[in-house]
Symmetry: C2
């Protein structure tokens, strides 16, 4: 398959991860008190790229960008919602999964980025249930296949209608010679805990499973006669809403549009600035600290809304990372820098700590957690450069800990007048932002050195200079001004000279020491195998199943088992 | 790269996994009381395939087959050994890792099989330490690079000589654009618990790390001046031997050569028979139960030696599985059957339970554990067929539980006179044979159904008919004679029609629900990424690093990060 970048159907040069509910083409959000309903009703002609129609509620990255946006808005704009109903807006089909023609014509990088983003979105559905007490009920009417069933799997409760034809299925293997790679295999075994031999039968049965057997095999939670479906959905919604401990009568904030200016070699946000050195294959992301102290009260935070610094920065950083991932494939290294006052950053962290039971403070922290995980899972070399004038403290110190390595300048720059660089830890660094493996970044860092973790805890709130930070193991290297430029230059040049693929593989291993969770298994065991299959001629070759699907020709397989 | 099978340098048609110490070409075993020394001294001209020399103690599958053999013999033939010293028999080089020219000219299947086997062998080094109280000390003199350091990582204690030039290194990424895939990345983070940013530096530093920094970064346990090396090795050996709780004065048994008869479509062992239906792409492995009751005493077991049924069967089954893996790449499905009396199998399990503190009984159980794990990790569809006359009980019931699915016949076959099929569980099925994920196969099976696990425990020792076994969830399907042949035929035909790659990926996910361990991470996160890289042009393409290594030409990379 020619690995050629496809054209966006809207004529744009970049995939845009920002969405506007007023212009959704694929989803409808309805509200009824504390119950929200998200209807999937994909516009066939609304494909992100040229060359395919999104038939039967099949989806592509564009559909998922709207879904991710809707899920985020639900959390910030509609905190009154206690339960989400996810269902189809089309008759006789729930969702046919990822669009096959889109996949068949995708570059390898497109496929991988698409799957990664959809996985992150499904994880965020589970996060809302687990951490925001806002569960999701999925109502399956009609065919629910492949990525459609994987979407259902992200819900807490799956209701399947018993109309003689509605089924759940993972037909990827028999139909396309690929895996149900959006968490499907992992959620079947680890979340639904389907018995492994039943899972084997299910995943090799193209037509799927319906009715009683779907419940017996734990594939869905209940099967309901079509005539009673709406009553049951209402009842379940009430039950789940009752179990949620979310306060009533919350009022949301508006997630106002991101302010961005794209130029040839930069993207300028309010609190984030991205610049590209495309020759050196480097993106520099500068995070700007707060310009003013935190507000006095939670009510003030709410009235600042989307302008409240931690929220603004998280949204902008998320967009910047997604933009680099999808649109800047030649970038090898993301260099993180920061500008501002570390004490101010700590003050905001303290403010969020103080208001940790306020719904908005909690949602902001959860958003940061997800953005930081997105960085962990970004297949670029990550380096933090800690210089005079930077503000890597508290929440922003997580960026240093997320980096593959970090450099910190000792003392001042020659001729510079900014005070020496300092970093600082806060309570927030010790558990509130778990990585996909379930550990904090400090725990992951000090897997073998409990004393180092204790020592780090003892300096909470202290501004640490470079020598101290290196001694405490918080940064990789501390250099003075004499060596600084050379060391960093050599590192960046060397990094760009390595094979991109081997870096992706190495970083995916070194970043996730220690335990695995269902989430990390999805991005490791499942995704790595899927990416392998996405390279194999049996699926993507000219005679492979993905290419031949729908052509009437049978795929031809190399029968060797590897 | 042309994916063409290479020629074995000994002119044989099959890779032979049986080795004979008298004909080792690459390893020397020396004994000094309770201390054994295994010297790696690779014969340059002793490559398994044609086309490369094994310079600088580099290795290929043939070298590793001898290593695996030596490690198994140590356990059975030399139980008096309490500590193993692993070191180089060559001056100035410990081990240069996997031979690069061998890798560069390998087919994808060869690479994957090679890495899997070497990983299993390194795991067995750790198993001997953990479960047989026989630790390994690795003495590094000279360059210890790539697979050489990965071998060292399997030891409990690594001593590095401080001679100014001896180093440890994982240069795979900068040199070859592949990963340290024989457990290297995982053991660095999860076993040695090297800090992730140090690991990043280490794995991108071609020349490696020596001296004090190697200790500070936890890469080795101690650095010793060359002049004191031999004294320190002796001291450490004594210390480790003292800590081992192995009894003194044990006498081993001889692992006599396997009796095998290879024919065109079969391999006949004593207790195992393999037949190939190459057109249907099926290998049938028949396991034969014991012909006589277990011996009366442990001493009798010892005098039976390698003829003792559980040991004989484990060795033969291991060889059969390895043979299929490496030499029968077109086989899609392994069908496991058994013949014999289930009660007899249970009697042997009871005998091994009773003698569980006897060194030989323990080693036999540990060998079974490793053979069963080898089956879990075999990338072929596994099916157990439970028919009249079979003996899937106790240890052999693990084969049914290891299968991707299982079929059991209800009642007798039409016209048959054998009694209906029965299976039975024993204590041994509830923990003694953990899978790579650390759970028993029953735990993995009933992840979501604790009551099912309890119900299974209640029927320990009972011969269960097909209907009962299906009800208890121990087999996938129970069919009577009317449906039996059709159901199995349809399944086998369907399985052979699927893409081999997608089956490999699916099975690797469904078999390992639940937690991950360091061992399972090596075969999942690490291996799956490595296999992906082994498909990427940046490493294996005409201009890729693996192909261009040693040619003087620099590799050319596609710079896109995926």
């Amino acid at each position: 398959m020619a690995d050629v970048q496809r054209r966006l159907s809207n004529g744009a040069q970049r995939i845009d991860f920002a969405a506007d509910p007023a212009r959704y083409r694929h989803w409808k959000l309805k509200f009824d008190g504390d119950v929200a309903t998200l209807l999937m009703d994909v516009d066939e002609k609304g494909g992100l790229f040229e060359g395919y129609d999104l038939k039967l509620n099949s989806y592509d990255l564009g559909v998922d960008i709207e879904l991710a946006d809707a899920l985020t808005r639900l959390r910030f704009e509609h905190p009154e919602v206690k339960v989400l109903i996810l269902r189809s807006g089309k008759p006789r089909v729930f969702c046919a999964g990822a669009n096959i023609r889109m996949l068949a014509s995708s570059t390898h990088a497109d496929k991988v980025n698409f799957c990664k983003f959809t996985n992150e979105t499904r994880n965020s559905i589970e996060d809302a249930s687990e951490n925001s007490n806002r569960p999701t009920i999925c109502v399956v009417t009609g065919a629910c296949a492949g990525g459609g069933y994987e979407l259902a799997l992200a819900a807490d409760h799956i209701i399947l209608t018993d109309d003689g034809s509605s089924t759940v299925a993972l037909p990827e293997l028999p139909l396309l010679a690929v895996l149900p790679g959006t968490g499907g295999l992992t959620r079947v075994t680890d979340k639904r805990k389907v018995r492994r031999d039943h899972a084997d039968v299910f995943c090799t049965t193209e037509e799927g499973i319906k009715g009683k057997r779907a419940v017996e095999w734990r594939l869905v939670d209940e099967v309901v006669p079509n005539s009673k479906l709406e009553d049951v959905v209402k009842t379940r919604a009430r039950e789940f809403a009752k179990k949620s401990n979310r306060p009533a009568d919350l009022k949301g904030i508006a997630l106002t549009p991101l302010q961005r200016k794209f130029a040839a070699d930069s993207v300028e946000y309010g609190s984030v600035a991205v610049s590209f050195d495309r020759k050196a294959r480097i993106a520099t992301v500068i995070l700007r600290g707060p310009k003013s102290p935190p507000p006095a009260t939670a009510a003030d935070m709410t009235s600042q809304g989307a302008e409240f610094w931690p929220l603004k920065l998280a949204r902008e950083l998320d967009d910047a990372v997604l933009d680099i991932r999808a649109n800047e494939l030649d970038i090898a290294v993301i260099v993180f820098k920061s500008e501002g006052e570390g004490e101010q950053v700590l003050a905001y962290d303290k403010f969020l700590d103080t208001n940790r039971d306020h719904w908005l403070a909690r949602e902001i922290r959860l958003l940061w957690k997800r953005v930081l995980k997105r960085i962990d899972l970004t297949s670029r070399s990550l380096v933090a450069i800690v210089e005079p004038g930077s503000c890597f403290a508290g929440t922003l110190a997580e960026i240093v800990l997320a980096a593959d390595r970090s450099y910190m300048l000792i003392g001042k720059r020659d001729g510079g007048n900014r005070p020496p660089a300092a970093i600082a830890l806060a309570d927030i660094n010790f558990g509130a932002y778990p990585m996909p493996n379930g550990l904090s970044r400090l725990q992951s860092r000090f897997l073998g050195e409990a004393p180092a973790l204790d020592a780090a805890r003892k300096v909470i709130g202290t501004m640490l200079d470079a020598v101290t930070a290196e001694k405490l193991g918080l940064v990789t290297f501390a250099y003075d001004d004499i060596d600084w430029d050379d060391e960093i230059r050599i590192f960046l040049e060397e990094r760009a000279s390595f094979s991109p693929d081997s870096l992706t593989g190495m970083e995916a291993n070194l970043r996730f020491g220690g335990p695995e969770t269902m989430e990390s298994k999805i991005f490791a065991r499942l995704t790595a195998w899927q990416n392998w299959i996405f390279q194999r001629p049996n699926s993507v070759g000219e005679e492979g199943a993905l290419r031949r699907y729908g052509t009437g020709q049978k795929p031809v397989f190399d029968t060797k088992r590897v």
